[in-house]
Amino acid sequence: MEKFTFNGQPKLRLLTDEQIKLIHEKALYILETTGVRFESDEALKILKDHGADVDFDRKVAKFKPEMVIDAIKKAPSGVKLYTRDGELAADLSGNNVHFDPVSAPIKILESDGKTARQSLAQDLANISKVNDALDNIALQSSACVLYDVPKLIGDSYRVYIMLQNSPKAMITGGFSVHGVPYMRDMLAAVVGGYDELREKPVAVFDICPSPPLKWTHISSQNIIDCARNGLPLETVSMPMPGAATPATLAGSIVVHTAETLSGVVLAQVINPGTPVIYGGAPVHFDMRTGTTPLSAIEATMIAAAYAQMGKYYGMPTHTYACLSDSMIIDTQAGLETSMSGIVAQLAGINVISGVGGLEFVSTVSLEKLVIDNEICGMALRLDRGIETSEETLAVELIRELGPGGDYLSTDHTFSWFKKEPYIPSSIIERRDRKNWEADGAKSAFEKAQDKVKDILANHRPAPLDKERADELDRVTLKIMKELGIDSLPLGPK
């Protein structure tokens, strides 16, 4: 993708070229005059060595515009992700769109659709497996917190479970300083080594600044580790209008831009060419309840707008969308998930994280994952747009059949009826009422319950071969020993 041009802009444009330039200038101004706090002396030292103006007492680094521009130029315009088994899984570039499940919820909504409880290791294994069977979700993610796993290994152990249950490439992230190195070891065990992992990355690491304009010790260290090891990272700045960023959308986008670019600078000065995904998790801050709805239309608007900034910088983009803040799988869940999913798709966002998610990214549901797979299918169909070739315009056929012609039995229909539309699963009801009633008059949710049961009982994801599985166990056991952990649920023996 070209940098500092408007050629890579998506179909949906909330910002004009002039507005993009304006936000860019304001963000550079903030970076130069206010700066960003890095709560890590190592990060501050690295930044200082590369020309930033650093105040070690206040832990603030200020950046000259040239330093920022230089970093943007070095940031790759795309990242290719591979499956555990070495096949191309996703090309994160241009306006290519990919979906993945919500990350790090602390609860799972049980299959009754009502009970939310703490999530466990088995839940992540189930999510990974169900997700493996869903064609429209390209990537998997560390989609819940594991309450039955010791907290010291709780973040990295999710990678072990995902590698066991699905070959899909993954979006993950640490909650601790040692999280990234441990996950790297597990991933390398399966792909054949550190070099192989760098060559063909299987995982992206989410790293969050703390709004406004701050990177914690953990996040700074995570960036440093990813950059040094050439691991793709995804900056997840979280604009929170009125609470941690200005109450206005424009002001929040300025803070998001400045925060994100400061992370890009740190990664690029350490290791020029480190793949960085220009991401975020915009929320609306609800001033009546104090909650942080991610599916408010304003949050989605911020995502669409900062994606335009990311594309102006010629970088791959990410956001949280295609999820809902509802507590259960109801009308609100359906409308918010599809609305934000479609907006994010039209905004050409390369990684859209959120499917299966409820309650301000606090809860995940297998049934919702299965339903959302249909929304992703429709969004991806919309993404494909309308092809106008001789063949698809079908003028010859129209002339041949003339007025009153029958298209149903033609070769043209035969060769296009499957290719042209998105064909949903039975979750989306398209039978007539009589047949639907005869089959039990089930709602989409009830059909999703059946489908989840069926996948868990019958779907067989491509297994991890014995040799690689043993190596993964060996590495994981070593980490467990380091942390003084004897055994883990679903863990190596």
Binding site: I106, Q118, V145, K151, F175, M287, T289, T292
Partner: protein, 210 residues
């Protein structure tokens, strides 16, 4: 004309200048400072709390009301040098070590303040030692710990253990909260209580200090 109703209404409206002016007028007319506080400033906040809970008021409005109340309080304090502020009790609150989630803890602090408690808000990423120092310095009845990450829930236990080591545990009630925290966990680590949200935190503190 000095009028307690005007003080109260200024607080409800979040009119900082108004609350100050009306409080001043009351003081100048020789009214009892305690009455100004109870029937005016605090009475206003007593309307604000329930209205917020009922979804009729928004966070920034509650904050402005709290500011208005404080503006009035300051004037009362200035007037009477050795005047003892009436307080429901003192709470030291902070987000534990390694955790930077700020917003929920701040909301809890606001709710406690608007219910008449003195709140010392230590901020985020607060190590056990700092909580202990704050207990020594401020002598609170309650220490509130917030954590939003499963990983930092461990630091809640560390903090409680450290307060024990320092011999401070018995002089305070410890309450905990935050999205991943549960009642069971609070029992497990030896806290005195758990609250799922700001309103419940106020009830909890009231109960513990009763």
């Amino acid at each position: 004309m000095a009028n307690l109703e005007l003080v109260k209404n200024s607080v409800i409206e979040g009119n900082v200048a108004g609350a100050a002016a009306e409080t001043k007028a009351c003081l100048e007319s020789g009214m009892d400072p305690l009455e100004i506080i109870n029937q005016g400033l605090v009475a206003g906040m007593n309307v604000v709390g329930p209205r917020f809970k009922a979804g009729e008021m928004f966070v920034p409005e509650v904050l402005m009301s709290a500011k208005a109340m404080h503006a009035g309080m300051e004037l009362v304090k200035e007037k009477l040098v050795d005047f003892e502020m009436p307080s429901e009790g003192k709470v030291v609150i902070g987000t534990v070590k390694g955790d930077l989630h700020d917003i929920g803890k701040n909301l809890v602090a606001i709710m406690l303040e608007s219910s008449g408690y003195d709140v010392v808000n230590l901020g985020v990423d607060i190590p056990p030692e700092k909580f202990a120092e704050a207990v020594k310095e401020h002598n609170p009845q309650v220490v509130g710990l917030s954590a939003l990450l499963t990983t930092t829930m461990l630091a809640m236990k560390e903090t409680i253990d450290y307060l024990k080591e320092e011999g401070l545990r018995d002089q305070v009630k410890v309450i905990i909260g935050g999205a991943p925290v549960t009642e069971d966990f609070s029992v497990e680590i030896g806290a005195d209580g758990y609250a799922p949200d700001g309103g419940s935190a106020v009830e909890l503190v009231k109960g513990l200090l009763a």
